[in-house]
Amino acid sequence: MGAGVGCPREGKVYAGNLNVAAKRAREILYGKLKLGEVVDWATTFSLWPVHLMTSCCGAEFAATWSPRFDAEQYGALPWISPRQTNFIIIEGTVTRKMACALRVTYEQMVHPKFVIAMGACALDGGLFYNSYNVVKPWEVVPVDIYIAGCPPPPEALAKAILDLRKKIREKKMASRWLTEGWREDREYLVPKEDVCRWWRP
């Protein structure tokens, strides 16, 4: 704490001293984990959600990254450009026109990529279960985690990010995507319906 005093926490992992942190991380990881596991471990700390706000759940998404709930502590930072992100949170209802935007955004993200579907609307339509203009996100992109609620509270979204991190490490989602190029739970990566058909000139 006091300046000038020999730091009592020398050798622990903390962000203030990058050299010490790197040395310590190497001690923990080197020779103990397989390369794939290191990839999975590292991916859990660099989830970059793209900000594609499709509906009102976006307000809770914003609250999750506000100082009070601070989801950045889980290593996830929202970013605007899909080309530099690997993680998409579907924030609520997806209309037919937004389904195309969702698919195009998903295609642009870098591998390995993950999807969280947020809210009752993303599960089965929610309030708009019988609407003519709503599509279910699981018909458009493969979803890893669903969150129930209308809207789900920020805590639920933070929990979902933690669950996703657990899933990435347990199921080796990142490393298997890199080594095998596919995942067996991703059999239908391409939606059956052409979601962008209205857009063709």
């Binding site: 209309t95 037919r96 026109k97 279960y129 019988n130 609407s131 003519y132 203009n133 209205w198």
Partner: protein, 164 residues
């Protein structure tokens, strides 16, 4: 100016252009006939109503008509800016064509596109009449007309008889 006074002024100004001028809940409602919509709108514009707040439509399947309503108000005239005036026109349901008001009020452009896609009302002379929110296949089904049926869950099946 009170709402009553505004209604009087409008009645005087429009004369025979308006079939009916009445005070609805908090706003003045004018009904015109098909061919006189543009003239009535021009008269309103000369009074100082300078923008369209919304364009909407109501479907009356039994009477076989669709009523298209323009809600207009004013930004620049202070005494008019407190009020909203609804300018309505009835068109036949099987062939709904309305003269566009975009040349008069620019802000009507997107609203007319919405009414076009949801009710199938054609606006003659509109600069860019394409569906706005819906995909074209859906827009062809005229989804906000009363005869478009959406899927319903049988959640009311257990309702007792006396409440039916």
């Amino acid at each position: 100016m009170s709402l009553q006074a505004l209604a009087e002024v409008i009645k005087e100004r429009l004369g025979t252009l308006a079939k009916e001028v009445r005070i609805a809940k908090g706003h003045v409602e004018i009904v015109t006939e098909g061919g006189r919509l543009t003239e009535a709108a021009r008269a309103l514009k000369e009074m100082g109503f300078d923008h369209v707040k919304s364009v909407t439509a109501v479907d009356y399947p039994k009477e076989g008509k669709i009523r298209v309503t323009y809600h207009v108000s004013s930004y620049l005239k202070e005494d008019l800016s407190k009020y909203i005036v609804g300018l309505s026109v009835d068109v036949p349901r099987d062939n709904p064509i309305v003269e566009t008001l975009v040349p008069l009020w620019n802000s009507a452009e997107f609203f007319e596109r919405e009414v076009f896609e949801f009710f199938g009302v054609h606006f003659k002379g509109h600069p860019d009449l394409r569906p706005l929110l819906l995909i074209p296949e859906l827009a062809e089904k005229r989804v906000l007309r009363k005869d478009f049926v959406v899927r319903e869950e049988g959640i009311y099946e257990g309702v007792p008889h006396e409440y039916k």
